[in-house]
């Protein structure tokens, strides 16, 4: 698997004190993983400065941990609790009124395992940004449906594929997979050949991975 060699070093070196308030395990675990002398391959980003970053820094201060640009694409990293207020501010004050996509990335070796990515676009500014947040397994981030109605299905898909439940979502069910399916396919520990073998056997009458 491709992620085996992946150094735990994340794309985002968290500044001191920015660790989530979640209890004990994260820190030591992360330190242990970071130990191997392999040069950490990280995303080479440049800082991003604009009126957007200014307003958000002013408004949210330490809740936003990073403003960066990679390949000309701007993104910011925020703490999970600040995501919805930031989306709101972006929509109402900065014209980012089109929620393009919500998705997630699984980094099983990190303490905060999932990276939830919100892609936003502004028609008025013709600008696209990404908002990212890291959450541990089991954390229930607040739903974005309150800000963008279109988040409904997108969040359901994230739940379907990663098992991230969104707090306050009006209809948190699977969307693409069958209701009785076990497991979340896009988590890295599930191989492509063996997902829900029992379901496949019962309903399709074939061995999985056939």
């Amino acid at each position: 698997m491709a992620d085996e060699q992946k150094p735990d070093g994340s794309a985002v070196p968290p500044p001191a004190g920015s660790e989530a308030p979640k209890p004990a395990p994260p820190k030591p675990a992360a330190a242990a993983h970071a130990a191997p002398p392999k040069p950490p391959a990280t995303m080479v980003t440049t800082p991003w400065n604009s009126d957007v970053t200014q307003l958000l820094t002013e408004r949210f201060g330490g809740a936003v941990t990073e403003f960066s640009t990679y390949l000309g694409q701007n993104f910011l990293v925020a703490k999970p609790d600040a995501v919805i207020p930031i989306l709101e501010t972006l929509k109402l004050e900065l014209d980012f009124d089109y929620l393009v996509d919500i998705t997630a990335v699984d980094y099983p070796k990190r303490a905060e395992r999932f990276e939830v990515v919100y892609i936003l676009y502004s028609f008025a500014r013709n600008e696209r940004i990404r908002l990212k947040t890291m959450i541990p397994d089991g954390h229930r981030p607040a739903t974005a449906v309150t800000v963008h109605l279109g988040a409904n299905w997108l969040e359901r898909e994230v739940f379907d594929m990663f098992g991230i439940e969104f707090e306050g979502h009006p209809d948190m069910r699977r969307i693409l997979l069958p209701e009785e399916w076990q497991g979340f396919p896009l988590r890295k520990e599930l191989s492509i050949l063996h997902q829900d073998d029992v379901w496949v056997q019962e309903n399709l009458g074939i061995e999985s991975g056939q």
Partner: protein, 370 residues
């Protein structure tokens, strides 16, 4: 949903699909009815789910390219263009000008083919049998060009990361030009059949209205958004593949109803022809492949690249961990997001309109379910 119904009768819940001729694939819609009025819907999707994103994580970048053709299978070339652009972005390379021009020609031809299939089946759903034969006849000519170019008609795998696999065949330019000249009168012919047709107008005008605000709220893009009056097209807003060199208009309408979406798509076919004509005259000579290593290993990083597919914004979000396979590959399918607005569009309308509205959304279930 209201508890008491208009007629004070019991609500009727009926099931439409997944095996229904007008759902364009395996879409299942559960309709809650009061008489003939729709008071609620629920879409059940996923019948065609193949786990494309998981497959992407388990294939190399080149190996995955043919898979993207199987999402929106009536616009395979557009899917491939989006994917190739996304990987090229991660690699920080650009396709050479010749490859870009050929890509534009093929993508616009594919837009025409996709719109033709939409028009034919949409008209068929409404009860007009004739247009589908005409549309498939014209679409055949596009598919012949694809076949001559790369040997495949539907799932073409026409592009490669960094450019093109094949040089254009002898007579590609002439054949494409001939097609353009021949095609425009055909669009007029469809319009003569439909645009002022009383039944057509009666079935479409004022049906399934989705205004600009609602479109933005749901993230609906493509012709549906333009029919609501938003002059937004990624080919103009954030040009890729050299679209900035070509002159074309973004057709828009005002009401955002089914009829407007029809008008917008008809005009888009004409505009595509316009782009093809310009591009074909300007195909520069030169290489067709950029400097892409044999083994594609983009540096650690991530990128979101989107294009204007026939159905709307098609985006690829790829995370690379400097291996030969994507660490995460997310497809932002226009059909999936657009379908979400179905409920808003059909509520309060009639059952018969549901068919018209599904048709006008122009969804492809292969892309909705992935």
């Amino acid at each position: 949903m209201p508890d008491a119904t208009f007629l004070d009768a019991t609500e009727l819940v009926i099931n439409m699909g997944p095996q229904h001729p007008s759902t364009h694939g395996v879409l299942r819609v559960i309709l809650k009815l009061d008489g003939e009025k729709v008071i609620g819907t629920e879409c059940v999707i996923g019948y065609l789910h193949r786990g494309v994103e998981k497959i992407g994580e388990n294939r190399t970048y080149q190996q995955f390219a043919p898979y993207v053709d199987r999402m929106d299978y009536v616009a395979a070339v557009s899917n491939a263009l989006g994917y190739c652009l996304a990987v090229e972005k991660l690699l920080n390379v650009e396709a050479p000008p010749r490859a870009q021009a050929v890509r534009v020609v093929l993508t616009e031809l594919n837009r025409i083919a996709s719109h033709l299939l939409w028009l034919g089946t949409h008209a068929l759903d409404i009860g007009a049998i004739t247009p589908v034969f005409y549309c498939l006849r014209e679409r055949e000519e596009v598919l012949k060009i694809f076949e001559n170019y790369c040997g495949a008609r539907l799932t073409t795998h026409a592009f490669r990361i960094g450019g093109l696999q094949y040089e254009t065949y002898d007579g590609f330019e002439e054949e494409t030009k001939k097609f353009c000249d021949w095609f425009i009168p055909k669009v007029d012919e469809y319009e003569r059949l439909l645009t002022h047709n009383r039944i057509w107008v009666g079935r479409l005008k004022g049906v399934g209205v989705l205004n600009a605000e609602e479109c933005k709220e749901y993230g609906v893009t493509g012709p549906v958004l333009r029919a609501a009056g938003v002059k937004w097209d990624l080919r103009k807003a954030q040009p890729y593949s050299g679209y900035e060199q070509y002159e074309f208009d973004i057709p828009t309408c005002e009401n955002g109803d089914t009829y407007d979406r029809y008008t917008v798509r008809m005009e888009e076919m004409r505009q595509s022809t316009r782009i093809i004509r310009q591009a074909i005259d300007r195909i520069p000579s030169g290489p067709i492949m950029g400097k892409v290593p044999k083994v594609v290993k983009p540096p650690v990083g991530e990128a979101y690249v989107s294009i204007e597919a026939p159905k709307g914004e098609l985006g690829y979000f790829i995370v690379s961990d400097n291996s030969t396979q994507p660490y995460r590959l997310r497809v932002r399918p226009p059909s999936f997001v657009n379908l979400q607005a179905l409920d808003r569009m059909v509520r309060g309308g009639l059952v018969a309109d549901v068919v018209a509205i599904i048709g006008t959304l122009d969804i492809v279930l292969g892309e909705v379910d992935r």
